[in-house]
Amino acid sequence: MTDIASTKLSNAQIAWRAAQDIEDGAYVNLGIGFPEMVARYQVEGRQAIYHTENGILDFGPAPTEGEEDWDLINAGKKAVTLNPGAAFFHHADSFAMVRGGHLDVAILGAFEVAETGDLANWSTGRGGVPAVGGAMDLVHGAKRVAVITDHVTKTGAPKLVERCSLPLTGVACVTRVYTSLAVVDIEGGRFVLREKLAAISLGDLQAVTGATLHTDGPVADLIVPEL
């Protein structure tokens, strides 16, 4: 069996792969944490406009240290800058953009994704202080809801599963998953394998996936640069 730990993509490489599918002119929301990395790999010659749910369209990278304006932050409460053409709006308008189908792409992290498109990414179900933020809103309304994630958990358990065991963020909402080993679409309640690392066999990939990987046409090699 392939040594997955030495073969798999880094988080930066997963983010790079997800960035390749963002079209020129797309309005995009990136979840806080790991998904924010996707913006670094925007394809040259394409312009995406990033939305942050606290009320900015077209924000840019972090300012240099000492130049922060703490009224100008993103959903992760990190200081950001503005691009020419940026806009501010209140929270109800911001979530109208989300739920109203105006965003082209939302990219989120995941604890588990089910073949039905169900997503669990807000609660480990273990008690403590529960916090949901905008996760349950973001999974509804964007034309494409994509997940970026390691293919398995830190203990090696599948994150792509038949049914989520953790509390759901949304039902039947995810359309594509970019993992550390593969690119998988969710269509008609099934995982459909689109790309996989050449170094891992279909059998080995299936062995670390908690639901059947279907194929529908050729499976391309998942090719990502060293980053």
Partner: protein, 235 residues
Amino acid sequence: MDKTVASPADAVADIPDGASVMIGGFGGSGAPIELIHALIDAGPKNLTVINNNAGNGQVGLAAMIEAGMVAKLICSFPKSKDPRAFTERYLAGGIELELVPQGTLAERIRAGGAGIPAFYTPTSFGTDLAQDKPTAEFDGRGYVQERWLKADYSLVKAETADRHGNLTYRAAGRNFGPLMCAAAAVSIVQATRIVAPGEIDPEQVVTPGIFVKRLVRVEAPQQEEELNRAEAVYP
């Protein structure tokens, strides 16, 4: 017409025990620190607070929770860099939490100000946060019924106000401000500048004055993030 009052202390003096209070801000962005601190000085107890978060550090909303003034918090994300004040009380059973998805929180407040008692949203359908709520299907998709949210008071931070209460905001500090001005019976706004009517271009007004009850000038407002970096503690 002049909605200006003399000080933050005067602006919040009548907020009684048991009141519901919306507080603007997303984290520290747009947080009305001076109004919150004036409310801590006034010290009403048993408050229901509506805010996106649950405070950070030992200033602002966190200090209000630390002072034992908050019986219930309605919010979407009660976590922050330094959430001690809320976390300790919550885990000890000393504060009630109503967790609401962020967009639903915003829309409930908007509905409260707009006279819409309930609405349907796809958000949270099929999840634990939709438990015991009515659902319905529209065009083949499931939706959850959510109720409006109103409050006795709101505390909001604006950039420029005129004496009629027309407001502009600063950057992403706008966030919940316009919604909370409309959804509270008594909206209290701190503004960096208060100008004469006519000095704000009507085309640039974000919150029309009809939604604002009281104004107070806070010339150099403090930022929660900067206070926390300086390890400030209030009071």
